[in-house]
């Protein structure tokens, strides 16, 4: 919903996501930006992009939030329920196509299912 001025930083962040298949943490993102952008600024951009349905975020180990572009979301809500994969060797994180079926439970109302698969990616298996 937030106003979005077309700033250099915003474009750089979006480019970084467009140039990769990976999900990125704030830290990784900053590393990949061609110019220095302040940490606070990056977090604020990511927050705004998430509010606007442009990126989604999820937790991977170890305690780090990752962000990736959304395909079918908009500012009225995030609609994905896909799984994520993290390689335990190189720590790379990717979004998977696999949809996650949100299970039903007796005692709880389940609104959301967060699935993180961990293992080895093709590169690290060689």
């Amino acid at each position: 919903m937030g106003v979005h001025r077309k700033t250099r930083n915003l474009e750089l962040v979006l480019d970084a996501f467009r140039n990769t298949q990976e999900a990125l943490s704030a830290h990784l993102l900053i590393e990949r930006l061609p110019v220095d952008v302040n940490r606070s600024t990056v977090y604020r951009l990511l927050d705004r992009l998430e509010d606007d349905g442009v990126v989604h975020s999820f937790l991977a180990s170890e305690n780090i939030r990752f962000y990736a572009l959304c395909k079918e979301c908009n500012q009225s809500g995030h609609v994905h329920s896909h799984a994520h994969f993290q390689c335990t060797s190189c720590s790379q994180v990717v979004c998977l196509e696999q949809e996650v079926a949100v299970p039903t439970l007796n005692q709880y109302r389940v609104d959301e299912a967060q699935v993180l698969l961990k293992g080895q990616c093709a590169t690290c298996m060689r």
Copy 2:
């Protein structure tokens, strides 16, 4: 694997887990201990208990590690693949009975599936 002397702190931590159905973060655990126990000590106890297969840990939002007693694990390895539930109102976290089927993927070898379901618990739905 680590040596375990039967210390007061160890007993207090185990009691805290035995006295609840919930999973506990280090912070929650410290709050529930009847005496002050140092933060470092608690983290070290949890690490050791996890190594020994007595508790398992997983990440819940927001970026906090939760611990709960294991049922069928021992020091030769953790064997659970159950889901966890976190209430978005009261933040309480519990282990679910539901086993998670680890899916197979083309490009990745999946060793582990972490599933966190989020929604509302019975108490908060009222």
